[in-house]
Amino acid sequence: MWRHAIKAGAAVLCLTVALPLRAETRADIAHLIVAQPAPPVLSNLDPDPADLGAAGAALGVEDTTTTGRFLGHSYSLDTRRVAVGDDAVAAAREVLAETRLLLIAAPAETLTAIADLPEAQGALLFNVGAPDMALRGEDCRANLLHTLPSLAMRSDALVQFLVRKRWDKVVMIAGSHPRDRAFAAALERSLTKFGLTLAARKDWVFDADMRRNAAQEVPLFTQDFGDHDVLLIADETEDFGRYVLYNTWLPRPVAGSEGLRPVAWAPVVEQWGAAQLQGRFEDHAGRKMQSEDYAAWAAVRAIGEGVTRTGTADPDSLRAHMLSDAFDLGGFKGRPLTFRAWNGQLRQPIPLVHPRALAAIAPLEGFLHQRTELDTLGLDAPESGCAGFAR
């Protein structure tokens, strides 16, 4: 039922209240999903689900509505899709005329253009799709919070693991897509941050079909890396990375976009009550929960937590509450989740996973910070370069 409604594109879902009402508060949330051109990839094993992200937001509204009905608070979700080539900013303007709480899955430049709209002033926007560091840095916006972890949070998490394991001879293969380049840059930054150096980096240049050639090509390609402890892969579009595992010249672990991956969420996260969220999501969406679903779920839950505690759906009041010490969100990652006051990023542990299990969760033991260990991941206050967030 939910899924049909969402697929329909613009259904307003409104759950009514069955129990005695107190002060009626209504939070109307919109979710703008801007389609991005998908680059061709070698394998078609894992297409993105059509409701990626949307299903997370819908579950968030369901969870939050259950709480709301005991308090006289109601929530609605309006999912809007923008096709490739269509005007996302115009679509945002339209949505912002109707609601002041907006989740956005869009590229960074679209996000900042939306955040700068006159219609977006006084609204509260949640970035649930763009991992760019610049959005948490020099391109930050006061009305834009981020529930998806930044590339820096993910790469810091992975490099903490390398440091703990003393895998200090590190090499990397990076793809050519801008997303691959950005993740490779984040990994290099993290290596420097935690005192490691990249011994060698090679760019993935093959244009042959690796389903036939990987076994022959990858050993040769990785032969001249020399000795190393771990091979990092920057392949965020999931193009070639899957063909590198078990085909390397030396028998070495693979990490990054493939092998051991730092993620916001994965189906193998089961501790800290996560099995409950996984079960609810699967019942709801008929598939496993992914990072983009988690980011959208967390954004809606943050709104819900704000409305529950403050009794209002006013964006400014919600923003103030979310950035205050009074806010914490149970996010099924073993610690309360809070927002960074300097750039609006949701602090969160980063699971390090392989397809069968969680290997570790960052921050890893021993990485200390004067505020909270969670701030060893991603852009800290002095380095973020975000000047426009504080009001």
């Binding site: 009550g273 409950q276 609810r280 937590e305």
Partner: protein, 326 residues
């Protein structure tokens, strides 16, 4: 009915008299990831029996006369009823889906069960083995409590962050009160005048005045050299006369001792990893904590507030329940 009550009264009196010398007894532990129960002798502090049960056992509680043990077999979607003498499963009770925790009403007959996956509290009559009522509560119900006079049942919901107050006469909600994030456990104390609710992610215990359902106090915790994020109150139990609460603080690996009059924390005791629930021996001189991650039970001497022994049990010990054996 009256004969049943009379018989119960006799049994209760008899067992109270018998347990007065406060000697032998057992602590029963549910091992969530082993599908077993470990039975610990409270005198020798050794595991005397390991008993196979249904899938993913979590909440366990004895009948008031300790004649039967109720077991939430969460992944078997049932409550098992066991003869603790023989370890045999006598029968199963309908429980609703994914029963996690429950509480036995003072009438020794009705179980109030939190169905974690279904946002429901199920009330089961253990005699007729029928579901009497199902009550919609918040998401991920967990903590369960019943007032000593039996008039109020409480369910806490982990994601909704509330204590739901159930009128046991009508089996309907009459109040819903917010607490801090991820409420885990609830207990009535001081003759039912106070309700305590622990919040795992919020890191607090909220004390309610039961008559008005309003917040009376909030207890925070501060473990030395431990970030507040890791100090996560979960299960708690009270010493004789409800003077002090022993509070399991989850991944901080400590148990706090809280003065129940002043609401001040008096001590922190180091135990095993991810401490979860607990119960006392007969005279409440020792408390046994389940340590989920380290797979053991810490025995704490209540008077000195020192751990005296660590006992290896199964994987992910969860619940703890005491029964006298003589």
């Amino acid at each position: 009915m009256t004969t049943v009550l009379k018989r119960l009264a006799t049994i209760c009196t008899a067992s109270a008299l018998l347990s007065a010398p406060a000697a032998a007894g057992e602590i029963w532990i549910s091992n969530e990831k082993d599908d077993t129960l470990s039975v610990i002798d409270t005198e020798t502090l050794e595991v005397t029996r390991t008993i196979e049960v249904g899938e993913r056992p979590r909440g366990i509680t004895f009948s008031k006369d300790h004649k039967v043990l109720y077991i939430c077999a969460s992944d078997s979607d049932t409550v098992q009823v066991m003869d603790p003498g023989t370890g045999e499963i006598l029968h199963e009770l309908p429980s609703g889906e994914d029963p996690e925790q429950f509480v036995l009403h003072p009438d020794n007959r009705h179980l109030y069960i939190a169905n974690e996956d279904d946002a429901i509290t199920t009330v089961v009559d253990t005699e007729t083995r029928q579901v009497v009522a199902q009550i919609d509560v918040g998401i991920e119900p967990e903590g369960m409590a019943v007032s000593p006079d039996g008039t109020i049942a409480i369910t806490t919901s982990e994601t909704t962050n509330m204590a739901h107050w159930i009128d046991t006469e009508t089996q309907t909600l009459f109040a819903n009160t917010l607490v801090d994030s991820r409420p885990r456990h609830a207990e009535f104390v001081k003759d039912g005048t106070e309700l305590w609710v622990s919040s795992e992610i919020g890191g607090t215990i909220t004390v309610f005045d039961v008559e008005t359902q309003t917040e009376k106090a909030k207890i925070g915790f501060d473990v030395a050299n431990m970030h507040p994020d890791r100090v996560q109150p979960v299960g708690f139990e009270f010493t004789a006369g409800d003077t002090h609460a022993f509070v399991a603080l989850g991944p901080s690996n400590h148990v706090a001792v809280v003065n129940a009059e002043t609401y001040e924390v008096e001590d922190y005791i180091l135990v095993g990893r991810r401490v979860w629930h607990m119960d006392f021996n007969a005279d409440r001189s020792r408390v046994f904590t389940t340590n989920g991650v380290s797979g053991d039970v810490t025995v704490i001497d209540v008077a000195s507030r020192k751990p005296v022994k660590t006992i290896k049990v199964g994987r992910f010990p969860w619940g703890a329940a005491f029964r006298p054996t003589e």
